[in-house]
Symmetry: none
Subunit: 403 residues, 2 copies
Amino acid sequence: MADFKWMSELHQKNKTKMVLLVMDGLGGLPMEAGGPTELEAADTPNMDRLAKEGVLGQTIPIRRGFTPGSGPAHLSLFGYDPLEYDVGRGVLEASGVGVHVNKGDVAARGNFCTVDADGLISDRRAGRISSEDALPIIKKLQDISIPGISIETELVREYRFAVVMRGDGLEADIDDTDPQKTGVAPLPARANSAGSERAAQLFNDWMKLAREKLSDEPKANAMTLRGFSTDPALPQFPDIYGLRAACIAVYPMYRGVSHLVGMEVQEFEGEHPEDEFAAAARLWDEFDFFFIHIKKTDSRGEDGDFDAKVKIMEGVDKALPKLLALKPDVLAITGDHSTPARMKAHSFHPVPALIWAPETVREDDQSAFGERACAHGGLGTFPATDLMPLMLAHANRLAKYGA
Amino acid sequence: MADFKWMSELHQKNKTKMVLLVMDGLGGLPMEAGGPTELEAADTPNMDRLAKEGVLGQTIPIRRGFTPGSGPAHLSLFGYDPLEYDVGRGVLEASGVGVHVNKGDVAARGNFCTVDADGLISDRRAGRISSEDALPIIKKLQDISIPGISIETELVREYRFAVVMRGDGLEADIDDTDPQKTGVAPLPARANSAGSERAAQLFNDWMKLAREKLSDEPKANAMTLRGFSTDPALPQFPDIYGLRAACIAVYPMYRGVSHLVGMEVQEFEGEHPEDEFAAAARLWDEFDFFFIHIKKTDSRGEDGDFDAKVKIMEGVDKALPKLLALKPDVLAITGDHSTPARMKAHSFHPVPALIWAPETVREDDQSAFGERACAHGGLGTFPATDLMPLMLAHANRLAKYGA
């Protein structure tokens, strides 16, 4: 990978419109041997037509056998090898709630926890406190100030929050403070390099002040910090691919990753596929590339609810004509990883992928969108990081290499 | 890539004969949805039999989504990753017309252009002057001499020529002189390193003399130079693969690339497939490996003439028994890239590939040579740079790695 050098040399601009529709955790498994996967079971006449007219394949999100988190899996889809471009969890979470992490800032992801009278952790996630209950607690943290730096603290959801420090001389090479078990105290922030000592000290000061502020909170009277990180300075979509790219996603993390790669994250009403497609319609003239993210396929997979995951897919399919009416030149439909309901978790399996591009696609002989069909598709099995070059190629946006 | 280290350690010699038959621009597209590609439409009973007895797959010439030029695409077929082994255009063109570029020489590709009375470019390709008209102009340029160096100038075809300088202290890190637009003067040759300054100055001297010689030529009174480059010193076929390799090709560029990788470029009469196969027959005992190049599949694809491209394929198939009568141990049939008639241009699509090797092949369940069949083939979808190792393996020419 890291063929960004070539992408930035070869990309050419034109008027084509490209859509990357990601159903999170798309890939699945049969509930019993010989049975259909979620996608195969779903009644998806529109996607099946696109499969017939387009070309199928399956992607390897990171490396064969790797089960990806959502952050790395999306980086891959956007063309960034996540083993090469390491984006810290703190930066991901902060970006996800709209807190920008710039060069020299240090971001951390916080988890509320509860500690007993001796300061030992009794619940590492503060009983998975609701977002509603967590908001007033976050407000207290937002009152903390430390001379010489500025601090931004935002709730992500439930027990998770992001805290970003800005100031001179801050570096992020700091260990997590979560001891990963109960019955012990949270660890102090410890610097792994001389350059990070000032930031570690400031985060320790902050935690001390925060503990004081929360001392009488019954549900969440302490916190751990992890994923200390700074702006990864990722190469940007407009430079690599020559694309004005819009992110249409409901969930913070996906919005955060999109921001980091240089997409313009959009605000819109509603959270259903049709709302997202309506947002794309509204923005159609302004952008070349639309990343549209559907979260609930993954959520229902994590719940272990096969039928509910099927229903989400069917809902996307039903709304799809709204998107197709925009006449995209290239439409790719895939997932960031597999989340089989049978496993109730992300998995390592390859991910079904479909490229539909009426002008340029070499159709294969598959006629339905599903795991088995994708394994026979004309695109073969390929690294997810190749999806962007393939989409650009289908959009006539890559010049010939050499003569 | 760059697994040449392993190839040179593992290769072993024997008496097997290998043929790489390249139909340029082989891959295609259906003219209408659901229709056949050129190769699928062609009546090719011999290739279909080889497909049935052999194994199919599809190659990625450079990277997924990249549309290759013919030079890089052939380097790939020969096992050289073209993104790693960068062969300058000047060297490619010169080699293509039989002008060898050795270490310390500097080659450039020239384009005739026309300039107006003010010296501003009015046509960057001299009206695509014919080869016939260009030849006497080249003759004038061949008269130019500059003390201390020797210069070789040859027409490539139409408005394109190659010029090679030989002498002491020449380096090739020089910018193109083509301003890429009309209405401005050609740029001077500008060195990008101290070591290249002498060569840049000499090329500027040469261009000045050349402009004087051509001042009264109505069709082509000036030129631009590009692709300044020297011998890329590519690892050589006999060293990497242990093969005595013959190139049987009509067109200069392919002969040039073959020379650069250490093949022995052959002279022969005629230009049809049967002439090329006859040349192979004549040379059969002298070589281990035969690269046979068919150009016209690409030419008819570029013309956008689906039926004519089909006819070229059928002609190759018809002549094939002549090649099969030689009883090659390994025959690979593929293209360097796709040139779908529908697109009238090179494209990014994968390329059908077939390996036939009666003694060693693991046959798959495909029975015709075509894009859809190849997408299902037993070789899968693989980088074109892996074709040579696969051919060697099928020829029992690679020793076991490890015990």
